[in-house]
Subunit: 312 residues, 2 copies
């Protein structure tokens, strides 16, 4: 039987502007990217989220076609889907949020479908920490592995409840700014040490186009991003990254070495995501596309320097 | 017979302020770092530079003790040594120059000692492009490999002569900002493509704490920086990096694979350099220190993902 991954996060409409182009009201949301990336693996993936009356049926079909169980996606008929719009600056590494309309998210209470309360792995996307905590409370699998994402507004305004969620998580994936905000440490090393003390056994600090770093108590792994020739839209890169990690870890033994492998997949998935607006590229890629890019990435980043023949 | 590396660049006094500490009038200058890094390899390294009456004799002894030939270091008795002072911002990745006193550099005309006009490799540090060009004109080795560094003021104010120097170089090592300034391209890919068209067969773009990227016409290599726990002083990091590359390539066949290896050494040397003020750490490190860090770096950056057993 396939192992189960439960994904909790937003489904959204996004309007995005970059220095080169813009799009209006396309399919977005953290859980969209997470679930699509995770579902590239041979696992049983379910989505818990909420949508409004304006959410297109075809998007639910798209998720289902990718073998994502959508029983936990609640439709609120008298409200609208969560909407986000943002504008990327020239470096594509930073952005300004133009508008956030919470809509159905405002009163969202996640409900894990019965079949998934025993999921081996739970990936909790960026959401209000009270929703994240409620998800954890509904799970009955005491050995579950929990992967967490969060962002600045929750760190700044709901620290107590967020710290409770962090303490119950096994792996947290945040970007450099969030790690600094969470710990009040500028050095990413010091920040990671503090986060590890908050509960998680593993911390991943994402640095956008500069790659990411995995920390555990005694080990470290540093990896560059896949060098994408033309970044079209960075939206969802971090979620595709986390989704790749969650998907890989759902059907592999969880240890440092496999989290490294998982991060390689996450890195590859996010590189596809940024090459198009929204999920276009992520959804389309085949097993062969992924394999080819993995090979290319391994080739681009490895060196043969033979330490057994070491001489200066 | 050992192969010859000729290093041309500044010897200087530096006053440096970081968010945590400061030092006054310590030994600095691009060629100091370049030559010290390069001299870790079993090569015949010579330095061409200029100093004033205030330059301490012990610093020349220090260079000579590291087997750096100093016959080409000219002493100008009625002037002072080049002086630079700067202040690093909190991220340690950017800095403000507080003062630059050219002094002996103002009228510097490099003179390559006779024994070194046939050097196999020439590393031209960041200097006025007319000095860089004069160095190339004195070399008689038609098969020499030329590594070049430069900076914003030369790019902005002496572009014509700088372009001539670039056209005669084989490898250029610049940081991301310099690459963008030189090419008017924001994307590092586009920038590298333009620089390759200017002459060099290889372009390295340095990204400070985020590592570096090597470009040739058809190949790419991406490498993170060695993750240094506590950066004390970034001064000389780029020069130690270039010096490591120059040193390695002096006694290895020059091809893409060996330039990758050379960059690994450069990365390791610069990681030592930033752990102390000035050359303290770079000068002290032993063969064993380097070997241990190389092993650690390989371990920190490699993943075992077995592509032969690829399955999703």
């Amino acid at each position: 039987m396939k192992k189960k991954l439960l994904v909790v996060g937003t489904l959204a409409y996004d309007s995005i502007e970059t220095p080169y182009s813009k799009v209006s009201k396309i399919l977005g949301g953290a859980s969209t990217y997470i679930a699509l990336a995770a579902s590239k693996f041979s696992i049983d993936c379910a989505l818990v989220s909420v949508i409004g009356k304006d959410f297109k049926k075809e998007y639910i079909y798209l998720l289902k076609l990718n073998k994502i169980n959508c029983d936990g996606v609640e439709l609120i008929k008298n409200d609208k889907t969560f909407f986000w719009s943002g504008k990327y600056h020239q470096n594509m590494n930073s952005r300004t949020t133009i508008k956030t309309e919470l809509n159905v998210l405002e009163n969202f209470v996640p409900k894990i479908p019965k079949n998934y309360i025993n999921s081996e792995l739970i990936m909790i996307g960026n959401l209000h920490p009270k929703v994240q905590l409620e998800t954890l409370n509904q799970s009955i699998n005491k050995k579950k592995f929990v992967i967490l994402d969060t962002m600045n507004i929750w760190i700044e305004n709901f620290r107590d409840i967020l710290e409770k969620v962090i303490s119950e998580s096994n792996l947290i994936s945040v970007n450099d700014e969030e790690a600094r905000l969470l710990t009040d440490e500028y050095s990413l090393f010091e920040a990671a040490i503090k986060i590890l003390k908050m509960g998680p056994k593993y911390v991943i600090i994402k640095k956008g186009e500069h790659g990411s770093i995995l920390f555990s108590k005694n080990k470290l792994f540093v990896i560059p991003a896949f060098p994408v020739k033309k970044v079209v839209d960075p939206t969802g890169a971090g979620d595709s990254f986390a989704g790749g990690i969650a998907g890989y870890l759902t059907n592999h033994k969880i240890n440092f070495e496999n989290i490294k492998n998982a991060i390689v997949y996450g890195t590859i998935f996010s590189s596809f995501t940024v090459e198009s607006f929204g999920i276009d590229s992520l959804e389309k890629i085949t097993k062969n596309d992924i394999f080819e890019r993995l090979k290319e990435f391994k080739n681009l980043t490895s060196f043969k320097l033979d330490l057994n023949k070491y001489k200066l």
